[in-house]
């Protein structure tokens, strides 16, 4: 099953930022591997019920960050994971969370999906 995206209308974060951050998180955790195609702007906009310009802006920012690449005729594909300076405490916390989740036999996709949902709360 493909990664789920949730856009909350009552969230003060703009919809394009909600979308961008969820896709970025999925790329960071590896749920979206390099080379994975993500849906066209209009398809995702219709599915979510938001304006195509909102999705286009999120894709543009992801492309500016080097996370996705758009080619005419080939759509938008994931290029790689973001390079970030990690917070050691955050990295340790994340490792503990992932270990606990794996003890519950959760898949990598389910773990990143849960993180993406938590980011929208």
């Amino acid at each position: 099953m493909a990664l789920a995206i949730h856009i909350r209308p009552d969230d003060p974060t703009p919809p394009f930022e909600q979308l961008r951050s969820q896709i970025e998180a999925a790329i960071a955790t590896g749920a979206l591997a390099a080379g994975t195609r993500i849906p066209p702007v209009r398809q995702l906009a219709r599915d979510l019920g938001i304006a195509p310009g909102t999705v286009a802006r999120a894709y543009k920012e992801l492309e500016s960050a080097g996370l996705v690449a758009t080619a005419r005729g080939a759509g938008t594909t994931v290029t790689g994971r973001p390079e970030r300076v990690t917070n050691p405490a955050l990295a340790e916390l994340t490792a503990e969370y992932v270990a606990a989740a794996r003890r519950l036999r959760a898949s990598d996709l389910a773990i990143s999906d849960a993180i993406a949902r938590a980011l929208t709360l």
């Binding site: 099953m1 493909a2 995206i5 195609r37 219709r46 599915d47 019920g49 938001i50």
Partner: protein, 277 residues
């Protein structure tokens, strides 16, 4: 002509139910998702309504007085128009049913996975046979002696120099309007398929994905079947008008009848269809 109408009709009446019983029906009460049940119900309603309206339009075309039976020849095409419009209306009617506001998945939907090759091959075969028949008719047509309408008769030259003609014949008098009608039908089919493929959905819900995939495949199959019914029906009518005992005409009419039976079985019984991967 009466010697060919009866076996043709019998063949159609036997084949259509036989094909119908092979198809399975996705029943609304097997769907627990309320929006999907509504979607299914509305799609089936538009399909049945379309069948009735399309049949009435075709019947009206056949019985309305027209210039030398042009309405009769165009009845199958008009049936396919009515059916296509009904299916398209059904898709627009259920546009939002499979969608959940603010929830979607990063799925890339492959358009070809919803278009099965068998219906396309059936339609292509009927189009090819009809095209050959009409091109041949264009090459051997002549004026109808009784009405002087060009393209409405076939003239045979005898060894002694004499000629005889018979009609009605599917020459340009009929084939011109038929070709325009079928071309418009193909454009409508393309538009219908595009609209069906673009209908939004919540891809994050596996139940929605499964049911919606089946619904899209059934709708596209039905749209192709609607146009096939128009082409095959035209093929049968043209063949019945022109059969003079040759094997070619027999092949053309049997092709049309078999394709008609398949098309009606699809339109009458939605069925589950197969996922093309």
């Amino acid at each position: 002509m009466s010697l060919t109408v009866l076996p043709t009709t019998l063949l159609l009446l036997i084949l259509t139910p036989a094909l119908m019983v092979r198809r399975q029906r996705l029943l609304p009460d097997r769907l627990t998702h309320p929006a999907l049940r509504q979607m299914r119900s509305l799609q089936l309603t538009s399909r049945w309504l379309g069948l009735v309206i399309a049949a009435l339009i075709a019947l009206a075309a056949m019985v309305t007085p027209s210039r030398f039976g042009r309405g009769f020849m165009m009845a199958p095409g008009l049936f396919s128009y009515g059916m296509l419009l009904a299916l398209l209306g059904g898709e627009l009617w259920v546009w939002r049913c499979a969608r959940t506001d603010g929830v979607a998945s990063l799925e890339t939907r492959s358009n070809t996975s919803y278009i099965s090759w068998r219906p396309v091959a059936t339609l292509a075969t009927c189009l090819a046979v009809l095209a050959v028949l009409l091109v041949w008719a264009l090459g051997t047509q002549d004026s109808d002696p009784s009405s002087y309408s060009y393209g409405r008769a076939h003239v045979t030259v005898h060894p002694d120099g004499g000629t005889s003609s018979w009609g009605p014949f599917p020459g340009s008098f009929y084939s011109g309007p038929i070709a325009i009608m079928l071309a418009i039908g193909l454009v409508m089919l393309a538009l219908g398929i595009v609209i069906t493929l673009r209908r939004p959905r919540n891809g994050a819900d596996p139940v929605v994905v499964a049911v919606d995939d089946a619904a899209r495949r059934e709708t596209i199959e039905a749209m192709i079947a609607a146009v096939t019914a128009g082409v095959a029906g035209t093929l049968v009518f043209c063949s019945l008008l022109s059969i003079r005992g040759s094997l070619w005409w027999l092949v053309a009419s049997v092709t049309g009848v078999v394709a008609c039976a398949w098309a009606f079985s699809v339109l009458l019984v939605p069925g589950r269809g197969k996922l093309v991967r």
